[in-house]
């Protein structure tokens, strides 16, 4: 569930998110995304507030679905346990894919970047439109 967003930075976040949304939807222009661990636009967004992101996690491959779901849950728990609670909130947890949807600020992003043992990448959670 979405957590509280700091009111004082809301306007700036909105402006940057709009830029990102329009960059991939209405304007449609763009370049192929880089495979950076952290999308560069996230850094810009968290400088002024919170960003909605998708955190991909490192989970050992296994052919057993139950074992994989357990591993994904443990990885999610590990990330959340190491995030400063007031700087991030959970948007969605997934059971079958090693990923978390979060709203984070700069502090949380820095924390995520230190979790190289469990975090594989941080991508912007983009909004898309009907085609």
């Amino acid at each position: 569930m979405a957590g509280p967003i700091v009111a004082s930075v809301r306007a700036g976040v909105v402006a940057l998110l709009v830029t990102q949304i329009m960059g991939v939807t209405a304007l449609g222009a763009g370049m192929p995304r880089a495979d950076a661990v952290v999308d560069p636009e996230i850094r810009a967004l968290v400088r002024v507030g919170r960003a909605r992101v998708l955190v991909t996690l490192q989970v050992a491959e296994t052919s057993d679905p139950a074992q994989r779901a357990d591993a994904i849950g443990r990885a999610q728990d590990a990330v959340l346990a190491r995030l400063p609670s007031t700087h991030a909130s959970v948007v969605r947890r997934y059971e079958s894919i090693p990923m978390l949807a979060l709203e984070i600020d700069a502090t949380a992003l820095r924390a995520l970047e230190t979790m190289t043992d469990v975090v594989a990448g941080v991508k912007l959670d983009r909004a898309v439109k009907p085609q």
Binding site: A15, V24, T25, R52, S96, P130, Q131
Partner: protein, 869 residues
């Protein structure tokens, strides 16, 4: 690489979208011809002929060609809409006082629909400054009715494949489950929608950010939310319940409605026109994961994402949606994603750019790449996406164009193909579509990709069986068959119904395979459906293609010969009925091997029996067993007898030119035994088996047959044989002669009577007879006559007195006691002695005439006459 846009949009087909529950119109504008009149000839002709005509007037915008709004910034959209309105008003002002009626005015496209008379038409023609052209407002058939047949959907339906039993997931703006086109189809629902302060508000019906269960996937409340219902109708709508003559591609499929859009309230987010609906990637992923989590409950074929944004000139496999799309693909669920509507010729939107997604570009019904459609070398497929008429919210229908509309054609196609090939992987179905669809070349980029053809893909995924040769077999038999048809794939298997085991399946080609059908002995007679199952589960069946015939009853009636000697090798013929190829023969007990079994017909077979030397004597049961296990036994049909032997041949000689009946004694003789005599000139006839120890035959001795001893061979019908060396002698045909001499009364060897071989106290007349005959003779009878008169002979049954015979004066009498018979050889020139009782005392007086007749074994005789000195 930067994305490139295709040629100006105005050159291409223009589509006008209405969302009316009633009448809908479809307008196609032909290319303008600057050299000709604004009013096309057909418009002018119809106005003259009918007085009035419905037309579409294309407006000439001051900025030039119309640009699709999706390619414009919000500000540019505003300017273009303002120009459209201004030019429209200008044209309508010129029609004041003319016969006309405004049917539709449009805000986003430079068109006006009018009903005009000749005067208004003249005015329009004079308004070339504002009007580019005026064309007939033609009525068109609903285009799902066109697009579905275009992709072979109707053919697939006729083959029984319409998506029945399959669920397609529509991840979109929600679905109006009560729409008549979709009644009863929505079986799963979910909603994932987000509250993001300043940006989005959840549109889940319960106000939360996620919801599952009935009603959760309902269409969202914004004006654009017709989208999901339109998409769902294309994929799986069914016209039967809606009273329309067209249906979606997988009209038998069920739907999972997943609402993933959020209400965005910010003008910047919406490109200037809030509120709008956009979908967070995180919510899309959640929706897809819900599909994935229900895979064990619902038979999903595909998920539809008519959604996208951005532009990617290469696969975007770092996209966050890839893992869940990969998960779905790993369990056989395809994710069909719109290529995007930016008109790019070298780029796709996200998430359609993900390599494991099935990206879909849009084509027209004329198989031209739609002007708005993105395409790229890594695009998966094209599908119809221009002016597709499908269900919209409110219970009606409407036209829409976009890769959003092309995508559900693919989603529905997957439903149809998964019904036909349930275990086919995403790759197998994609390959089938890519290898069979007509190739469409994007003229702006040269990119060539296949447009889907369901019926053609079915031809690859689903085999058809047209014939089986031979079409029948007998219970218990193994039948090598050849199946003809189409779509046979490597690894295909064959089934042929109850009681038939299939083996040795070999796919010779896509149109031929061979197999062995082994029919159980107990298989019930009748027709069997024969199916070929491709690796993806696509199954082609020839109903009643193979017939199991009742096994003919097996019976054994005789075996010839029916006996054989120990140690013999006996070729036999077995008669009966129901003998089948592959039948075997066995004999009860030990010691008889069977080889060389050959079924000549259903009623006769041959075999060779090898009888061991130590095989037990006696009767054996003969059993014939067909390959299916059916058998029959002739109880005691064959007998093992002792080995054949020959001890005597009687008589054992014959003269040249004579025909000599002989009796052969020995053992082990069997029915059908034959007799042969070595050398030439002696033929055997009238062979008759008297018993296992006696055979009679007639030896025909040629006049020129060589003299001397011959070997006599008896050969049993079973092959056992034995030879009596020198058992028969050919003698000269020249007459034998006898000479006789009276020696006086010298010994008392016989008495008075026809069998009296003992002394009686009176000396017997004693004579010496000498044989003159080349090769000698065997004497089988003697008779002595006296002129006194008196007669003596060697026949005990006659009334004449006994004639004793000895090889010498004092030798043992050669007569058999009782019968008096003689049978003794006499060499050429040899003599023997005769004794005759002088029962009157006058028989041998001097001057009496004595006559001696000898009968030989060859049937000849000789006689000599003397006068007693």
């Amino acid at each position: 690489m930067a994305p490139r846009r295709r040629a100006p949009f105005a050159r291409a087909l223009l589509a006008v979208l209405f969302f009316l529950s009633g009448v809908t119109l479809w307008i196609t504008l032909p290319p303008a011809d600057s050299a000709s009149s604004v009013v096309t000839p057909d418009v002018r002709d119809r106005a003259l002929r009918e007085g009035r005509v419905r037309v579409i007037a294309e407006l000439r915008l001051p900025a030039g060609s119309h640009v699709p709004e999706g390619l414009l910034t919000a500000a540019a959209q505003t300017v273009q809409r303002r120009d459209i309105g201004a030019v429209g008003r200008q044209v309508l002002s010129r029609l004041v006082g003319r016969s006309h009626r405004v049917l539709h005015q449009y805000s986003t496209v430079p068109l006006v629909a009018l009903d005009v008379g000749p005067d208004a038409l003249t005015e329009l023609e004079a308004s070339s400054l504002w009007v580019r052209r005026v064309v007939v407002d033609s009525l068109n058939a609903p285009t799902l009715a066109q697009s579905v047949p275009l992709i072979g959907g109707d053919v697939a339906w006729s083959r029984g494949f319409d998506g029945t039993g399959v669920v397609v997931a529509i991840v979109d703006t929600g679905v109006e489950a009560t729409h008549p086109f979709l009644t009863g189809k929505v079986v799963e629902e979910a909603c994932y929608s987000s509250n993001v302060s300043g940006h989005s508000i959840t549109m889940c019906p319960n106000g939360s950010t996620q919801q599952t269960g009935p009603g959760s996937g309902a269409s969202c409340p914004l004006s654009v939310c017709w989208h999901g219902t339109h998409v769902a109708g294309i994929a799986a709508g069914n016209g039967a319940g809606a009273g329309v003559a067209f249906s979606g591609v997988a009209k038998g499929a069920q739907i999972m409605a997943v609402q993933v859009f959020s209400k965005f309230t910010n003008a910047s987010d919406c490109g200037g026109s809030p509120p709008c609906a956009l979908a967070w990637t995180s919510d899309i992923i959640a929706g897809l994961e819900r599909v994935y989590s229900l895979r064990g409950v619902r038979n999903f074929s595909s998920a539809n994402l008519s959604i996208g944004g951005g532009s990617y000139t290469a696969p975007c496999d770092s996209d966050p949606a890839k893992p869940i799309i990969d998960n779905l693909r790993s369990v056989g669920i395809a994710t069909a994603v719109a290529a995007g509507n930016n008109g790019y010729t070298n780029a796709l939107s996200s998430p359609g750019c993900i390599s494991s997604a099935i990206s879909v570009g849009a084509t027209t019904k004329s198989d031209v790449v739609a002007s708005f459609s993105n395409s790229a070398p890594f695009l998966s497929l094209f599908a119809p996406g221009v002016s597709i008429y499908s269900s919209v919210t409110g219970g009606g229908f409407g036209y829409a164009s976009g890769t959003s509309m092309a995508t559900p054609h693919v989603t529905g196609t997957w439903g149809v193909l998964k019904q036909a090939a349930p275990s086919a992987s995403v790759t197998q179905i994609l390959t089938a579509l890519q290898t069979t669809g007509p190739l469409i070349t994007d003229s702006d980029s040269g990119v060539t990709k296949p447009r889907i053809r369901i019926d053609q893909a079915l031809g690859v995924l689903v085999p058809a069986v047209t014939s089986i040769t031979p079409p029948q077999g007998t219970a218990g038999a193994a039948v090598a068959v050849t199946l003809a048809g189409s779509g046979f794939a490597t690894g295909a298997t064959v089934s042929a119904g109850a009681g038939i085991t299939v083996s040795n399946v070999s796919v010779v080609s896509a149109t031929q395979l061979t197999a062995t059908l082994t029919i159980a002995a107990g298989a019930s007679p009748g027709g069997r459906d024969v199916s070929v199952i491709n690796p993806g589960g696509g199954t082609g069946t020839l109903a009643g293609g193979f017939t199991v015939a009742a096994a003919a009853g097996v019976a054994v009636t005789s075996i010839a010969p029916n006996q054989g000697g120990q140690g013999a090798t006996v070729p036999v013929t077995i008669n009966g009925s129901g003998f089948a190829a592959g039948a075997t023969v066995s004999l009860s007990g030990a010691g008889i091997g069977v080889t060389n079994v050959a079924v000549g017909s259903a009623t006769q077979l041959t075999a060779t029996l090898s009888i061991a030397g130590g095989a037990a004597l006696g009767a054996r049961n003969v059993t014939v067993t067909n390959s299916g296990g059916t058998s029959a036994t002739l109880t005691g049909g064959f007998t093992v007898v002792a080995p054949v032997t020959v001890s005597t041949v009687a008589p054992n000689q014959g003269a040249q030119g004579a025909s000599v009946p002989v009796t052969i004694t020995g053992s082990g003789f069997v029915a059908g035994a034959s007799v042969s005599v070595s050398g030439t000139g002696v033929t055997v006839s009238n062979v008759l088996l008297g018993s296992a120890t006696q055979i009679t035959a007639t030896l025909g001795i040629a006049a020129g047959a060589a003299l001397g001893a011959r070997d006599v061979t008896v050969t049993n019908a079973g092959g056992g044989s034995v030879t009596l060396s020198g058992g028969f002698t050919v003698t000269s045909a020249s007459a034998a002669t006898l000479s006789l001499a009276y020696n006086g009364k010298l010994r008392d060897r016989v008495g008075q009577g026809n069998t009296a071989l003992g002394a009686d106290g009176a000396l017997d007349g004693t004579l010496t007879a000498t044989l003159s005959a080349p090769g000698g003779r065997t004497i089988t009878g003697l008779r002595l006559d006296s002129s006194q008169p008196g007669v003596w002979d060697t026949d005990g049954a006659s009334m004449y007195w006994a004639l004793g015979v000895a090889s010498s004066l004092d030798g043992v009498l050669l007569n058999a006691a009782g019968s008096m018979a003689v049978n003794f050889p006499v060499a050429n020139g040899a003599s023997f002695v005769l004794f005759a009782s002088d029962y009157q005392g006058t028989e041998f007086l001097s001057g009496n005439t004595l006559t001696l007749t000898a009968t030989f074994s060859d049937g000849t005789s000789a006689t000599t006459v003397i006068v007693v000195p």
